[in-house]
């Protein structure tokens, strides 16, 4: 049974029709590449799944159960983690503080609880090490490179045991070495039975780790193919509109 199903998802921002009747399904342990030109509606689609805003129409099902999220935390509670395209980081806080924002580790006596800085720094350090990232837990995000910031955003998704991880261009700003680490992470997530949606403009990344590729164009799904039955040339054609999907 698919862990995630979308049926007829539509999203209007005023007069802008960002999404029109998008269907999608994701199996546990499957990696789905989501591709499309700028403004195709990829980010809008994953933000709807992550509970950022409700769809104008259509249905979302998790493990076959229809769900409606009114805020991101509700999606997270259902096992959905997301790396936002703009990363959603607070520049004035440290890497560790950002990783744990909204779910801080606390210790305390009875009802009096305080932040356990040491535990958060330690865990964040482990997560960065896992990602082979040169990111120091106690550094301010303001002073970090694009790749380090991305590591912080990705590390967040590793705090829980999610069912679905949505990644909106996680490899946009990082070095070749770190791209390899992120792709490795996606493979590991798959092995653990986690469904992954990878938004990327980088064809090699999608062809390296994804089982399936879905192409969007002007808010509509134009193709949904197994990677093994497709080719980079075909997907490029679908993205630009040179080839019409069927």
């Amino acid at each position: 049974m698919p862990v995630l199903e979308l049926q007829g998802i539509t999203k209007h921002f005023g007069a802008i029709h960002a999404l029109t009747g998008v269907d999608m399904s994701l199996e546990p342990g499957e990696a789905l590449g989501l591709m499309g030109d700028n403004g195709a509606g990829k980010s809008t689609l994953v933000k709807i799944i992550a509970g950022n805003f409700p769809p104008t129409g259509g249905e979302i099902r998790i493990d076959g159960q229809p769900v409606q999220f009114s805020k991101p935390v509700e999606a997270r509670e259902k096992g959905i983690e997301i790396v936002y395209q703009d990363l959603a980081l607070c520049n004035n806080l440290t890497a560790a503080a950002n990783v744990f924002l909204g779910r801080e580790i606390k210790s305390g006596i009875g009802p009096i609880r305080w932040l356990n800085h040491a535990a958060m720094v330690k865990r964040a350090g482990q997560l960065f090490a896992e990602l082979k990232s040169e990111t120091r837990p106690r550094h301010l995000v303001r002073q970090m490179s694009g790749g380090q910031r991305q590591a912080v955003a990705i590390a967040r998704t590793r705090l829980s045991n999610p069912k679905i991880v949505l990644m909106d261009e996680p490899t946009a700003a990082i070095s070749v070495r770190q791209v390899a680490e992120v792709l490795d992470l996606i493979r590991r997530l798959r092995e653990h039975g986690i469904g992954v949606v990878l938004i990327s403009h980088r064809m090699p990344d999608v062809f390296a780790v994804c089982d399936r590729v879905m192409v969007m164009r002007r808010g509509r799904k134009v193709a949904d193919k197994m990677i093994k039955d497709s080719s980079p040339e075909e997907v490029t054609g679908l993205i630009t509109g040179a080839i019409h999907g069927g």
């Binding site: 805020k71 959603a88 980081l89 004035n92 801080e104 932040l115 040169e134 120091r136 106690r138």
Partner: protein
């Protein structure tokens, strides 16, 4: 920078490998020199040094007692203002809130019956007790802050507009409730206890060596430590900073942004209420004009101490030392024989200077 500077070292496994690559780890020295509160402390020490040399009266125990008490009221408000400023907001209504709370306390303590209150209220004794004055005063403050917070966080109105409106509305309320009188004919027994809170010293205890510190100043010191701890050690404090850094991101990661913001405004008004309670106790009378233009001093104190009006930065110690600097400068100008009408000019110049310094530091950081 209150956050995350002195976290105990749990492990370094992740970063040891590339320790040589990274030069961004700041030394304690660098951090200190980049810290506005540190420079304000230096400035304060210099001014105090110069003044003690030129004006022997400045260094007397009495003058110390007076200055520390005088800046305590603004200091307490600056502490409350700090979390609001960190979230990127502002509260212009704290001065008026002081006026309202002063009148509420005054009315409770008043000897004569109040025409617009029911007979049972005027007749009973518990309704006129000192603790009733304190409780109702704090309640009135909390209410103002709650209205501010709800209009800003839930309705989504700009903090400047909401609290500017409140500045006018609350002051007007204070005038109406007091029927535009000054209240000073208090019930002697209850008023004595009440006055002891704001007017007393050493919390009523005898200190070794007969050293004297006013209650308001002691309260300021305790609250400074408390706020410092809350900002650094509680998730509320962490969330306040996150909201100021990137409200959208805080919201997406599950920070209860609206609730946290309401909390900040309630706390801010409560600090103004406390300052009013102490002030009425100290002066022994309640005037509906209490706190006029104090919002400016409270904001100035926080900003001079390093709080960033754009949000994301601010410390409890900064608010404390900022208010100290303003009052020491005022006191020094008075002693140097400068006409008190010039004080506003100096305070204004310091606010602008503080913001300029912040800009310079910000540019260096980028």
């Amino acid at each position: 920078m209150a956050v995350e500077t002195h976290v105990s070292v749990g492990q370094e496994a992740a970063s040891l490998a590339d320790a040589g690559l990274d030069t961004r780890e700041k030394s304690l020295l660098e951090r200190t020199f980049g810290n506005q509160a540190f420079w304000v402390t230096v400035a304060l020490a210099v001014i105090c040094g110069v003044m003690s040399y030129w004006e022997p009266v400045f260094a007397t125990e009495d003058n110390f007692f007076n200055i520390t008490r005088n800046f305590a009221f603004i200091g307490v408000m600056a502490l409350g203002m700090t979390p609001v400023i960190i979230t990127g907001g502002i509260d212009l209504s704290v001065g008026s809130t002081m006026g309202l709370v002063a009148i509420v306390c005054g009315l409770v303590l008043l000897k004569q019956p109040i025409d617009y209150m029911p007979d049972w209220w005027n007749a009973a004794t518990w309704t006129h007790s000192w603790w009733m004055a304190v409780m109702l005063g704090l309640l009135a403050g909390a209410l103002v802050g709650w209205v501010n917070g709800v209009l800003i966080a839930f309705v989504g109105l700009p903090p400047f507009v909401v609290t500017l409106g409140m500045l006018s509305a609350v002051r007007s309320l204070a005038v109406i409730l007091s029927q535009n009188r000054m209240l000073y004919a208090f019930r002697p027994d209850q008023a004595a206890t009440f006055k002891q809170i704001g007017g007393g010293e050493n919390f009523g205890m005898a200190l070794v060596g007969g050293f004297r510190l006013s209650n308001p100043f002691l309260i300021l010191v305790i609250l400074t430590l408390a706020l410092g701890l809350v900002l650094k050690m509680s998730s509320w404090g962490r969330h306040i900073l996150a909201i100021g850094g990137n409200e959208q991101a805080a919201n997406l990661t599950g920070v209860p942004v609206k609730r946290v913001k309401v909390g900040a405004y309630v706390l801010c008004s409560l600090s103004a209420a406390l300052a009013a309670i102490l002030s009425v106790g100290w002066s022994g009378s309640a005037n509906n004009s209490l706190g006029q233009s104090y919002e400016l001093l409270a904001i100035a104190s926080a900003v001079i101490g390093g709080a960033n009006l754009m949000g994301g930065e601010g410390t409890a110690y900064g608010a404390f030392i900022g208010s100290a600097l303003i009052f020491v400068i005022r006191n020094s100008l008075l002693m140097a024989g400068v006409d008190s009408n010039w004080q506003g000019l100096f305070v204004g110049a310091f606010i602008v200077l503080a913001v300029v310094l912040e800009k310079v530091r910000g540019r260096r950081r980028e």
